[in-house]
Symmetry: C2
Subunit: 473 residues, 2 copies
Amino acid sequence: MTQLDSIFSHVDQNSADYVRRLGEAVAIKSVSGDAHHRPEVVKMANYIISWMDKLGVSHTSHDPGFQELDGSQVKLPPIILGTYGTDPAKKTVLVYGHYDVQPALKSDGWTSDPFTLVEDEQGRLFGRGSTDDKAPILSWLWVIEAHQKLGVDLPVNIKMCFEGMEESGSEGLDELIVQEAKGYFKGTDYVCISDNYWLGKTRPCLTYGLRGIAYYKLTIAGPAKDLHSGVFGGTVHEPMTDLFAIMSKLVAPDGKILVPGIYDQVRPLTDKERGTYNGIDFALPDYEGAVGGKVVIQDNEHEVLMSRWRYPSLSLHGIEGAFYSAGAKTVIPAKVTGKFSIRLVPDMDPAEVHRLVSTFIASEHAKLNSKTVCTVEPLHGARAWLADPEGPSYAAASKAVQRVFGVKPDLTREGGSIPVTLTFQENLGVSVLLLPMGAADDGAHSINEKIDKKNYIEGIKLLATYLHEVASA
Amino acid sequence: MTQLDSIFSHVDQNSADYVRRLGEAVAIKSVSGDAHHRPEVVKMANYIISWMDKLGVSHTSHDPGFQELDGSQVKLPPIILGTYGTDPAKKTVLVYGHYDVQPALKSDGWTSDPFTLVEDEQGRLFGRGSTDDKAPILSWLWVIEAHQKLGVDLPVNIKMCFEGMEESGSEGLDELIVQEAKGYFKGTDYVCISDNYWLGKTRPCLTYGLRGIAYYKLTIAGPAKDLHSGVFGGTVHEPMTDLFAIMSKLVAPDGKILVPGIYDQVRPLTDKERGTYNGIDFALPDYEGAVGGKVVIQDNEHEVLMSRWRYPSLSLHGIEGAFYSAGAKTVIPAKVTGKFSIRLVPDMDPAEVHRLVSTFIASEHAKLNSKTVCTVEPLHGARAWLADPEGPSYAAASKAVQRVFGVKPDLTREGGSIPVTLTFQENLGVSVLLLPMGAADDGAHSINEKIDKKNYIEGIKLLATYLHEVASA
């Protein structure tokens, strides 16, 4: 593979330029969650399009329409669909990424301006969007550029789907994928997404599973209006009392979900799967560091990972309608809505989970002998996603990691959801690979977000190598 | 009592003028909770002072200093101390009231401008402060005026304590009462407060008891920062889980407090006390109407009243630090503070209640085997207040009600707290009487606050008659 050697050498020689260009992208405040920044999101789309034009990537911009944001109708940024190469003899890899970012203010606690890329003496590149997801999406373009400059044939066709609303609900994306499954997306052999992170700081990983989610609103209604606890306390069934009674029955302090039947749907742990946890780059003290306190339930690494990746969890998020400020208000809230969610794993079905949850809650409410009215509403549900880590795309990615980093990647799963993963897999019927570039400590949604220069530069090589490997898979 | 007959006749003849003057007072927007309205609160103080001057009531204005409000230091309105008569041969009655009002905006849902007194065809006088507490405080002045105009000797000395911060924490009042107990307040024989309401709409009452309160913050701390439930769910002890577990153990859905030992301090119900509930003007359907829903726990009037007046209750008010907005946020809150309070009755002692509550919570937290940290903090505590309804002041008030309204008053208690009641009783060592003018449906803190013209005019007669009766008690 002397072709790749020359690519690697080119990437190393141009590393300063890649950093400079990432700085250009970071300087565009493409915050999708704030209507005032919407023009910057569009500016970022145009930045990408201008690069596509330079590199001969053909593209169309899909307009998802409008959204209501901050009380007004705001035009959504385009979903950019790029095409580079249409050779029927080659495999076609669809890459997905997003060009919008999380909000960031210097006053949130950033040590430097969030929208000015700053490199420190350890080679860390600080800036909002540096790792999430500007370095990865740009890297796909730099891979194309490197091949062009060196006159090396790119051995695959590339389709690119870059959206500008990932941090704010991916408005319009699912609909587009469904609609274009047999249009633009037709002919896709593999999907590769670089939008998550290594498990630790040093060893690359391939991610083949994500938990799903079932989010619930549990509403207890009592009096017609909020009451004064002095005047009415002791004489009315209080929605808060009933809400606490029921929500306290959902999950035990050790994390065990108490809704009967929930664990019946969980795919049993096999010896083979258990074996995959051996040697994974993960240490409990690092995890406690990320949590920021000694409140980890499990006492060994494998159990922590299994609890994050392959077992369901239930979290109580909050209450809408109750008193939430500082101080001491003597209110009996009239109607309160508890929010909780269950992280789903294979083979849990959101519909069956909803049946179990609503049946359980109804029976617990009945036990209270209360005159309040109890309703359960599922807000959204998404199945867990699981890919086959032994398929050709993963094998190609594994070889690429070994080629670039000299180590076998960890095979990881994640506890959160990336809904588009499942949408691609189910609608295109192909294998989806998560191939992260950033490290565990990049702080994607936090202050002082960064990507290590090494991760960025070696990441470009990794993506290039993956394309070469998957071409011959 | 031909003197009182002439007073009654004078009051009836001047009723239009009393309504006009109440309109002048209502027009002054003396909202104490908003710094922008503070000059209007002072204006209202001056309105009262100008009447005191006209009537020869000597007065001093106590300056309680400054408070922090809306982020700046705001001067507190004066506490007006008036003195009318210093005849050592007469009894001295201290009357308390407040000249500030709750906030009100037409846009809150008022059917007319809140600061323009409007009389409807049923003789209801709508306006902010009409019943709470401008009609009552002005009525004391009209009683003095009537005596002067008719040349009738007022058979008691009157001291007046009118504050302008009652709706916003009575800043500085307790300190003044303690400080002046042996100064200005010396020689007080009876305290009479007209700042609460009849139990129903037709029959007057004397109120001789109020519940106290013990307000608690229960804080559970876990991770150093809020965590993502996808990434961390299932691996950390979640403060919300533990908070719900503990708070669900405090009170049963039927209102029974579950903290061991709480009921040991509750004064037992005697047959005599039980008898006082007979014939009270109170109907369950009216109460359900006030609650606005069929969620009343008890199925008969006596039990409802006892649960409000003479038994403790525990309400869960809310959570600080958790998710409280609309929508679906997948957060594991790092530190949450549950707010709850217990309404106290005789003979509950706030210190002993705190000991029981904190011991119980500590033991419940220990049972959870959780690594979270649990702390309980009492925010404020006030004992219940109970007067002797057979004492001379109550006997005088009872005769006054019978004289003016032709019925025996109900003897009532209330579920809420009026802290100044206890402060007067404990520091002056005299009997405190609550002698309401307004009716149950006046909506003191709500939109469309009103006082019935009949309640206002007959109320002036009631206060006058009470002073005559108590003079000879």
